[in-house]
């Protein structure tokens, strides 16, 4: 049974620049199920933001192009829609929360008006009804005293409150898919925790599907049902959150997990991933991660690895999973972290109770 509401197939996105054609997304495949949260993680430049911009039809033209691939949503291929057609979907069925709540609101417009805009446009509500709905939304996202706040300007809100307003705007038309591009990166940990709780709460109430982009693996562990790890414009590992955190298969995922200190890490050194991501104007031949991979094999330099199936939910693109590859285990520190995590769980619960 297929209950996915979004299917992305072999998506490619390129940008023409003076330096040449940047291949920002190089064949991405995934599907999104109803009511689930898919987290996309990766470094800056890995193509995670560009992927979601393509879904929203926000790839800047004429420099940006989608030369290949399909984005299937409700029998439509979003990649082929015109801007006019896309405008009917954007903000209604698909909506987006941006990273920086300081710049994604219009500073010269009262926040009430910014929320009502979409309602009036997509749902043909009258002004009075739209205002009523806007008040409900402000209440839903936990802004105290909405009647007074609705007539205020963005600068009168704190960062966390502004992000709540952005979420209210995104939710205004009950979207089927909500794309959140690093929604908490600009916020403090305490505020971040509040916003994440809010998003989960809303998802439960509205059964929205969420695509959550972040580079913070802690946040991923908190919100995600499934995780896709992106590197150099491709998904290199995808699976349920447990698959990826407790049974990671790709050396890049190992590196990401190893480079975060745990609260009780005693190791002298963090495992850093050496080097920097490859140049996507001239993507390297073979595995794009090869240059930073300490488990590099000859084949990595010659041929790109396909997706290997680890289990029904878990796939990874690394030659290490090929039957002829030597048995390679994740670095000691990553293994230790996994076993520590399992052991710590119960004791932590007790203390916090």
């Amino acid at each position: 049974m297929d209950d996915s509401i979004l299917d992305v197939r072999n998506l490619h996105v390129t940008f023409d620049t003076y330096g040449g054609k940047v291949q920002a997304v190089r064949g991405v495949n995934f599907s999104l199920k109803k009511g689930e949260t898919l987290a996309i993680v990766g470094e800056s430049g890995s193509g995670k933001s560009v992927t979601t911009k393509a879904l929203m039809g926000l790839v800047a033209k004429p420099a940006g192009k989608i030369p290949k691939g399909e984005i299937l949503f409700e029998d439509k291929d979003l990649a082929k829609l015109t801007e006019k057609q896309m405008q009917k979907i954007r903000g209604k069925d698909l909506s987006m929360i941006f990273q920086d709540p300081m710049t994604s609101l219009n500073p010269t417009m009262k926040i009430g008006k910014q929320i009502m805009e979409g309602l009036i446009l997509h749902q043909n509500l009258s002004k009075t009804n739209a205002k009523k709905r806007a008040l409900e939304l402000l209440e839903l996202v936990g802004i105290p005293d909405p009647v007074k706040r609705i007539d205020q300007y963005p600068h009168q809100f704190s960062g966390g409150m502004r992000q709540r307003v952005v979420i209210a705007i995104a939710l205004a038309c009950n979207p089927k898919i909500l794309i959140a591009d690093e929604p908490t990166t600009a916020l403090d940990v305490t505020i971040q925790a509040q916003i994440l709780e809010l998003m989960k709460d809303i998802q439960e109430k509205m059964d929205t599907s969420i695509i959550f982009i972040t580079h913070d693996l802690g946040v991923v562990a908190n919100v995600a049902d499934r995780v896709a790890v992106m590197y150099a414009g491709k998904i290199v590992e995808i699976g349920t959150v447990d698959d990826v955190f407790y049974n990671p298969k790709h050396p890049y995922t190992w590196g990401l997990l190893g480079s975060m200190p745990t609260v009780d890490s005693e190791e002298e050194k963090l495992i850093a991933i050496p080097g920097t991501p490859p140049d996507l104007i001239h993507p390297p031949k073979g595995d794009a991660f090869a240059a930073r991979n300490e488990y590099i094999m000859q084949i990595d330099l010659e041929e790109e690895p396909p997706m290997f199936k680890v289990s029904d939910t878990h796939y990874a693109a690394t030659w290490l999973l090929h039957e002829d590859a030597p048995d390679v285990n994740p670095p000691q520190a990553v293994k230790k972290r996994i076993s520590d995590a399992r052991r710590n769980k119960s004791s932590v619960e007790e203390v916090r109770d």
Binding site: A193, L217, G218, A221, N222, M260, V263, L270, K345
Partner: protein, 316 residues
């Protein structure tokens, strides 16, 4: 081991005038010492005054009141030009934003050697080039990079340039104001590892300001938690994480997301409400050796009992 105080901060206050009447008490009476060779972490939410503290210590701001002593000498006292220069050389800063903190019109060599020139450390052009190249290699860049401009580098590489610049004048003490928050996770680890190595090699003392608690815990020997211009808790980093006493510290710790799905599913967040306890009569009290908490006398007694109770579980 005898610990020598490198920096003493006593009842430091930094207030800013806003408009005619408003006063923002960004830093409102904080005291702490930093020992030679250690890393002192300062954490808190944005707006709690942690960056202002760092900037006041290095004399970018004049303190409203209070005292900062570096090597026994008052930082904010009157100084002759010569003494001020001497002081500036001993204390350096690494900034948060590697994009905004490097002059885009200067080459890497010019950026790094600016301090060397100001202090007249190396006169000979050839030696200077050699020193810049040496510094670049110390921070993990190539010596060929000296002639390039900042825009040719990635965020992590730029932060390395910022570190090389700070090291150029052989300082004793470096204030790092959120040096890694603008970087990617994998690059953060590279920079933190580098800072740790340099600390060992050059016997540096760090004041590490950040809001990412897990990274602070990893790099710091002792940590102070700031809330609304005051330090609410100060302890060895292990102790602070394992036995937090102040409710704000607890709430901050409970909000860190960990890369562990099972743990996250069972997370219970603690919410801090300053009205839950008396903050008016709170003073900074030492609950157990080296562990200070901002609390009333009664709270202090309760905290002491908690700590003693917890000590019962210590390994014998």
């Amino acid at each position: 081991m005898d610990k020598e105080k490198l920096l003493e901060v006593k009842n430091l206050k930094q207030h800013f005038q806003t408009g005619k009447k408003g006063v923002i008490k960004a830093v409102n009476g904080i005291s702490f010492d930093i020992y030679r060779g250690e890393t002192f972490g300062l954490v808190g939410e944005s707006g709690c005054g942690k960056s202002t503290t760092g900037r006041t210590i290095i004399r970018l701001y004049d303190a409203t009141s209070g005292e900062v002593k570096f090597n026994g000498i008052d930082v904010h006292g009157k100084k002759s030009k010569k003494n001020l220069k001497q002081f500036n050389r001993q204390m350096q800063m690494i900034f948060q934003d590697p994009y905004a903190s490097l002059n885009p019109r200067m080459t890497v060599k010019e950026i790094i050697s600016e301090g060397i020139d100001i202090h007249g450390l190396i006169k000979n052009e050839k030696d200077k080039t050699a020193r810049v190249q040496e510094l670049l290699e110390t921070v993990g860049l190539n010596k060929e990079h000296a002639s390039r401009y900042p825009h040719e580098f990635s965020g992590g590489q730029r932060q390395r340039i910022g570190i090389a610049r700070a090291l150029a004048v052989d300082p004793e003490f470096i204030i790092a104001d959120e040096p890694i928050s603008a970087l990617d996770v994998s690059i953060q680890a590279q920079v933190v590892n580098l800072m740790k190595e340099l600390q060992k090699e050059h016997k540096l003392t760090y004041l590490f300001i950040a809001h990412d608690l897990s990274m602070v815990k990893y790099i710091s020997d002792r940590i102070a938690v700031m809330y609304f211009g005051r330090i609410v808790e100060l302890a060895d980093s292990e102790e602070l994480y394992n036995k937090p006493l102040h409710p704000y510290t607890k709430s901050l710790l409970s909000a860190i997301p960990l890369p562990d799905p099972d743990f996250e599913r069972n997370r219970k967040r603690i919410v801090y409400d300053p009205n839950m306890h008396d903050t008016q009569n709170a003073e900074f009290r030492e609950i157990s050796p080296g562990h200070w908490v901002l609390c009333t006398e009664e709270e202090g007694k309760a905290y002491k009992q908690t700590i003693q109770g917890a000590n019962g579980f210590l390994k014998k």
